[in-house]
Symmetry: C2
Subunit: 381 residues, 2 copies
């Protein structure tokens, strides 16, 4: 059960398994101290407790007696985070990441987070209005493989756009390599997509992967914007979560979040940050309008229940944060569109990358087949 | 066994456990593709293989027949990383972080990494020469708890310095909160330490925690430097690993690396990045002169073998990268100084935080006792 702390506090819901002889009460109190003052009791002024500076254990409920598994809610004063993403993450899971048997399952209320995080600039409705597509899931594909020439990638982008795809993103490994330097690639691919749009009347958007170093990433975003690019893809755990927050808030472009390097947060079922909280809640808070994640049953081990939790955290009402698109990916093929439609609903984005390139030597034709499959499933012309 | 690829390639050593019916060869090939081109075979031009753009499986050795556990070495062309930290991490573990049963145990040769990472500016010898202390481990303590006033923290810094400690760092949760805003705190603590140094002739250094957002963190470093601060502490996984690389390379201050939020990389024994590689090798590559980690037997679950691996990765010869200090912490007490000395040797830094504050109401006296214990163990006056 989540507690309902005062508006200047947020609560973290942990699932905790008791292994040794400690009590759940002692473990919960240790977390409340570790994540705030990190000091022996004798060092902590009494007034710290009175003022609520220490994390406060709000609720402990046993959820599995035989496993000694508990749901524990601990609240933190918002100003302990300095209203910054790095210190928020520090409070959320900094030191206890180094422990075990602690899994974060929720953070609430969303209202307490509005001064820390920007949330999506567009969200589901904003993107739909921008691209003018309603009544069906959106479709995305990827420019790959890394190592092609800029000419080959931009020709591929032109073919995808002519097939009527909604979004063309760079593969997440296509960044700023000598084969396809960021500026040269982005300019060429954007030009190719605009050319196709002009010819066929579509509104396909090109979404470059932005993965530059600290001192170049903002210049890359500015360059892309000057080329006419309307959206970018960021992997927050490659470039730093706060880099994503900053770029989302300042440039307000359509933002795709990529899960690279997040996997160990949920590879252990008993310790970490649950997939829904990481790829749903946190990505949405950081500004993702679209969160890409590996759908169950492909080549990655997330379960269907994990994926539906990501979906729910992206879409559910959360203070003023707009809902974001779930984008299941990772080896998706045409034959799974119906399954995906049933699971994720109309307000989702389907990403098929490699399968469109291999399905046919005619990329425009395989892209059109993808779009026709989506449209026929949702009975749209 | 690590392979010895050509100078324009680096190798990653993975320990992989085979669970299903797949062969280790198929798993290794999948990683080599997933981490570079991430595309079905039919999409990959033959020339990509000829040019070595795809990861190359260099060696597969079974290390535990009953567990079906293998040591697999895969090499990557350096330019696939775009010579940037975010894309290096992407290549290293981006998508496969989302899989399981893959643990990174080494990266080599170091020579291949010199164009990506700065390494320590000072290293062990540089810090020793700077502070003029040889022949014994260095000693560090922490300003805490978060939530004290700036006056209290700076008075505490003065007492620590008067006790003769070598380094005083902020607690990692003391960042930029309203209780102790970064600028006000850093100026006051630096002034207090300089005053004590002037009075007692020591060369204690104050190491503030730098944890600001993307658009403020560099200004914080510049401010600290203008106050006379010579070193800073950074948690790379809170602020972004490349933020650390950038600040290390540009400002060349003494750099303490803090492990906050790294824990899930090694909480699963079979999947992630081993503690030595994360807190030893990667922290050193990113520029840490000192790597803080929770010593075995305290309140964190790292084993002694994990800690010794961190030590070894920090100290072993690695191309032009200087060796860095291991700094065992996390509930260390005076009674463990001898044990730490035996384990980590003279070239290490011991961090005692809370125990110095609680040991006595006279912080200078408890600090002096800590220093005396170190000096007597190493028979120094």
């Amino acid at each position: 059960m989540m507690s309902n702390p005062s508006p200047d506090r947020f609560s973290v819901l942990y699932h905790i398994i008791v292994r040794g002889s400690e009590t759940i009460e002692a473990i919960a109190n240790d977390i409340a101290i570790e994540q705030t003052v990190e000091a022996p009791m004798a060092c902590i002024p009494e007034s710290h407790f009175d003022q609520g500076i220490i994390g406060r254990v709000e609720d402990i409920t046993c959820i599995d007696v035989s496993k000694k598994k508990y749901a524990v809610s601990i609240s933190y004063r918002c100003d302990v985070t300095a209203y910054t993403v790095p210190q928020f993450l520090n409070t959320l899971f900094g030191n206890i990441s180094l422990k075990n048997n602690i899994c974060i399952r929720d953070i609430s209320p969303a209202q307490a987070l509005v001064n820390i995080f920007p949330g999506p600039s567009y969200g589901i409705e904003g993107i739909r209005n921008y691209v003018g597509i309603h009544g069906r899931p959106l479709a995305c594909t990827a420019l790959k493989p890394m190592g092609l020439s800029v000419d080959d990638l931009s020709a591929m982008a032109y073919s995808f756009a002519n097939g009527g795809i909604d979004f063309i993103k760079d593969d997440h490994g296509v960044t700023d390599q000598i084969f396809h330097p960021f500026e040269k690639r982005v300019a060429a691919c954007q030009t190719a997509v605009e050319k196709a749009n002009k010819e066929n009347g579509n509104k396909t958007l090109y979404i470059p992967m932005v993965c530059g170093p600290f001192d170049k990433i903002e210049k890359q975003v500015v360059f892309a914007r000057e080329c006419g690019v309307k959206g970018i893809m960021i992997a927050p755990f490659l470039v730093g979560p706060d880099t994503m927050r900053y770029l989302a808030k300042k440039y307000k472009m359509i933002l795709f979040g990529h899960p690279a390097l997040t996997g160990t947060f949920f590879s252990h079922p008993d310790h970490g940050i649950a997939p829904g909280v990481m790829l749903g809640l946190l990505f949405r808070l950081l500004g993702a309008d679209v969160s890409i994640f590996p759908h169950a049953g492909g080549r990655f081990p997330l379960t269907q229940s994990d994926c539906l939790s990501i979906r729910d955290f992206l879409k559910k009402p959360m203070a003023s944060f707009k809902p974001a698109f779930p984008c299941p990916a990772g080896g998706v093929t045409l034959s799974r569109v119906e399954e995906l439609g049933n699971l994720y609903g109309i307000d989702s984005m389907f990403l098929i990358g490699g399968a469109l390139i291999t399905a046919s030597t005619d990329i425009s034709a395989s892209t059109k087949a993808f779009m026709d499959t989506i449209k026929s499933f949702f009975q749209i012309n």
